[in-house]
Assembly symmetry: C2
Homo-oligomer: 199 residues x 2
Amino acid sequence: MNKTQSRILDAAKEQFIRNGLDGTSMQNIADAAAINKSLLHYYFRSKEKLFDAVFNFALQRFIPQIHGIMVSDESFFSRIKMVVSEYINMLDENPFIPMFILHEIHRNPQRPADLLIQSGLDPALTFKNLIREDEKNLIRPIDPIHLMVNIISLCVFPYAASPLINRIMFNNNQDNISKFREERKEEITRFIINAIKIC
Amino acid sequence: MNKTQSRILDAAKEQFIRNGLDGTSMQNIADAAAINKSLLHYYFRSKEKLFDAVFNFALQRFIPQIHGIMVSDESFFSRIKMVVSEYINMLDENPFIPMFILHEIHRNPQRPADLLIQSGLDPALTFKNLIREDEKNLIRPIDPIHLMVNIISLCVFPYAASPLINRIMFNNNQDNISKFREERKEEITRFIINAIKIC
DNA sequence: GTCTATATTGTGATAGAC
DNA sequence: GTCTATCACAATATAGAC
């Protein structure tokens, strides 16, 4: 991977992730990379191939993170805390990835989901391991799939909806927005644990 | 509003909401409405104006729903139940609206949020009224904005992410997907109430 | 009001000089 | 490897016949 190629990839990531497949032209990418349009085809053959490279990058960063933690040996509540913490950290570094992925899976639902499954992610194993037998007396009865969806919803949605939340909830006040973001990790963790632990 | 005009609007709603602004061409809309391309411009002047009409429709259906319930006189737990119920019902009827709105606010964050504020939605009032003084002894201390974001996240995100959830969680098995959808309303309500009530 | 025809610009992609 | 020039096509939009 030479210098030009990686500059193209960086520019493509920025453009595709911010503006989607349809919202990005090859000219946009070439301009952002400060190179000629033809070089995009020289290195990546077509817009679709270039997009695939970016999409795989985003998907791999976004989804499998949670899987490794969930199948680990840690206690249930530790795993909840770790998953939320890891996810929020990653989202703070890549706040546009949720919208990018959500939008593109709506345009083409089959391929991205297949890619994930192929990459070694095993949902059945994750759910079977989510609430272990010896921990069931600490936890209210809950379907592990609903729990998983709840956790991901609470982590991811605020990033996908951030322009609306920032305006409606905080009138775009940057201090209040930052405060909200910093509180969020602990807030979600407590919310989930209160929702499922027997007290 | 004559017959042609409303057929254009219906077709535009379907196309724009499913495929977004960039993903929809005037030709797509004309084909879906079974009329000529020029008539779109005759009735709506430009693609942008036509899109605005559709976007306002979606936004008004999607957001203010929750506001009316939240400022009502019902008890706290009743309001939670009602909001979740109303939201899920509306989402079942309009499952593509979340992605449509989320995507377009990312492309143009300012205007849609402004539209909402102008339409009489008053977030400050909503939050002040969310947890009333006389109800605070029933509820764990929680920031009303975090609570509000949590509720909306739990309701909306599964619809935005449905192609991925359906594949990864249910291997696209339609029976399991339907079962999950039907359980969801009660599941969310219980999850929220457990998270915040003092027991 | 509805159509055909067309103007104009932008798109992804390729050929070929260097 | 990198550029210019150019292709074929699709996009939004408009002019003008009926």
